[in-house]
Symmetry: C2
Subunit: 246 residues, 2 copies
Amino acid sequence: MNGEIRPIKALVFDVFGTLVDWRGSLIRECQHFGRERGLDDVNWTGLVDAWRGRYQPSLEEVRAGRRSWTVLDDLHHESLLALLPGFGLEGRLSAAEIDWLVRGWHRLDPWPDTVPGLRRLHTPFLLAPLSNGNVALMANLARHARLPWDCVLGAELARHYKPDPEVYLTAIELLRLTPGEVMLVAAHNYDLRHARSHGMSTAFVRRPTEYGPEQAADLEAEEDWDYVVESLEELADALTGSARSA
Amino acid sequence: MNGEIRPIKALVFDVFGTLVDWRGSLIRECQHFGRERGLDDVNWTGLVDAWRGRYQPSLEEVRAGRRSWTVLDDLHHESLLALLPGFGLEGRLSAAEIDWLVRGWHRLDPWPDTVPGLRRLHTPFLLAPLSNGNVALMANLARHARLPWDCVLGAELARHYKPDPEVYLTAIELLRLTPGEVMLVAAHNYDLRHARSHGMSTAFVRRPTEYGPEQAADLEAEEDWDYVVESLEELADALTGSARSA
């Protein structure tokens, strides 16, 4: 939100939570799935929250070197399998149905401001995701949600998960830009902290309902990020000099 | 052109020559550049042909392991520098001007059928380049030529140049598809031959003027590729079942 002019050439984006509403989308998908199959007794909201609850621990196994590189699609699959008994779903889903639920992460819906904001940002800046999601997941999600990427960057290209330095450094290297010319846009302070530690520019987008009504973290910017905004439309206003309130 | 139905899910494209007219674009750019600077005495067409003439030899240094991984932008830069004396340009161009000419490879124009064809193919298929051009080059070229990629695949992600197997195999792995579900679209028989050797589907697009009026190679399909077409529009007709002549 400061007025400093930096020669930003590319915007790279955290995706889950920052651009797409993974929780709302998955809850809708799972509840619809359950209704179609007479599985109304299942606590689908609880399942989605528990599924995401296994996200960081599953990445940490890879980050800590306790298991070799494994893409997020496969971690999502394993995490879901492990949760089925606790939600009364053991033996009630076919392999194809489980695959379909895991592919739900490829069909997440964007926040209302995401696509209009990205479209405005696309003319002046090169745009790419910088997500822990694998390349196929990101490409399919872009097709579903109509995210106008110029290329897909992220964890799989570095074979490391954020916030390992390799993810940020590989993206900068592939773009052939200086770190300050690349801005990470994210709804998570820890991600921006790591990006800044590598010299990248930073923009915080507040997404106070990513984790539902009880969200406790990332409700506010915790550092003086280069930009702090409520939406991608506001980021486009700020970066393209066409602020509506100016 | 055979009628076999294969479950193709993604189309990956050779880019230089197949989708963009590198020779015509660079000759136009260089001649314009020369006129603006009073360098009309230079044989720009000869320079462009000599520049591309150094392409395969420069890749071969990397493929053969005689030099470590080097991206195409840097090889283009080195090749141009080496050619300047022979074309009467030694000491007549600034570093910024040389950089601008090298960046000409990021500003190549598509063949007339490329963008209309890709747009039609984008709805049913995931689309990505599979080029020896590096990621930034491909992303910038897509921005210039409006190529609707879902992600960027290619040599840099494998740190090998086509036709090394790693380039094809890395793309298939990143897409999380079987080889037959991925079709290489290319104007070069050697590229398709290698793709087929890894089980990929194949489409040959005839580009008989890629190398100018004297082109000697790749004038015709040399094997029974799955599809043989004169344009991406014709490929869209064939793959989407809306053939105009049917």
